[in-house]
Amino acid sequence: MKTGMVVLAVVALGVGIFVGRGFDRADEQVLQPPTTITVATPKVTELSNSIDAMRRGAALNIEPESLPLARVENADIKRGRAYPMQPPTIPHAIDSYQVDQNSNRCMLCHGQANAQNFQAPPVSVTHYMDRDGQVLAEISARRYFCVQCHVVQTDAPTLVDNSFLGADEILAPTAAPAE
């Protein structure tokens, strides 16, 4: 009985080692560096007509080289609006601005009460109204999360051509034809 158990234990150990080594080998195979095929980043204009802007024309079995990370424009120069009622874009970085139940960092400068201290454009009075048109003392709950409408802009080159014309450009009288 006792010797039987010892034999069983030895056999189990042997099997364990064998299986373990097998797994080791499997790991080794997985760890082999994947054959990466890097495609040179094509010029944006080259592929600007491609509908496949994100992959920039790279085949599906190829990992395209990623473009450098874009930086948020932080020049504090106000941008125009492309159409009436467009939420103005944010002309500065908003890294780690806390906007949640506890605090709204945007309102530190853009709140009606503080705007003059920071020379920031105050949010419109419509943002203080509830849905019944009642003006509240604080920013309305439905306008609380600024980045739902207002966003930063980055210096990333556009991936596709954009023929969008702002309302002003469309409505402007066409330039007199050159003589």
Partner: protein, 196 residues
């Protein structure tokens, strides 16, 4: 009985040494002093490290996790602030004063005043207020240990930041913590707290 005992102890301490030489006593006292002071300072510095702070799960799971996402933990130049850089004064006297206050924190640890996330969130405003009050009182000294206004090139800042610093910081009207609350950790419920 006790009085007699105390009197005999006093007599022993008050009388000249019978067996030890003056040199032994002075040199021995000196060496013992070095050992004691070295030990004291080493312990003090050991409790003044991030590893020590985050050895408690209260710090590790709450505030330290939040710090990791901020610029004071990870940034382009690789210079970073650890817990004591901001939370413990660097000058010796102030440091000892803060360390004595910290005995309250040992009390809190022993009795588990913030040993769950919920307890921590409930107490967070009070804890934050202590830090705001401390930094307000010492004119944001721990900020200024690194962020020295005399070396601050406002033209290298974004125009917005530069003009605000020029307006409020140079005039001494505001101190760092007035505007820069919650830069290294998440803010508590800020209702009724004047910001900026």
């Amino acid at each position: 009985m006790i009085k007699d005992r105390l009197r005999s102890i006093w007599k022993l301490l008050n009388s000249p040494s019978r067996h030890f030489s003056l040199m032994f006593l002075t040199l021995g006292g000196f060496i013992a002093g070095i050992v004691f002071w070295g030990g004291f300072n080493t312990t003090l510095e050991a409790t003044n490290t991030e590893a020590f702070c985050t050895s408690c799960h209260e710090m590790k799971d709450n505030v330290f996790e939040e710090l990791k996402t901020t610029i004071h933990y990870s940034n382009r130049s690789g210079v970073r602030a650890t817990c004591p850089d901001c939370h413990v004064p660097h000058n010796w006297t102030d440091k000892i004063a803060r360390k004595m206050q910290a005995s309250k924190e040992v009390w809190g640890k022993v009795f588990g005043t913030i040993d769950t996330r919920e307890k921590f969130m409930a107490k967070r405003r009070e804890l934050a207020e202590h830090e705001w009050a401390r930094l307000k009182a010492n004119d944001s000294l721990e900020c200024r240990n690194c962020h020295n206004y005399d070396s601050m090139d406002l033209t290298r800042q974004s125009p917005r930041a530069g003009s605000i610093h020029e307006r409020y910081l140079i005039s001494g009207e505001k101190t760092c913590i007035d505007c820069h609350k919650g830069i290294a950790h998440k803010l508590p419920d800020m209702h009724g707290v004047p910001e900026g």
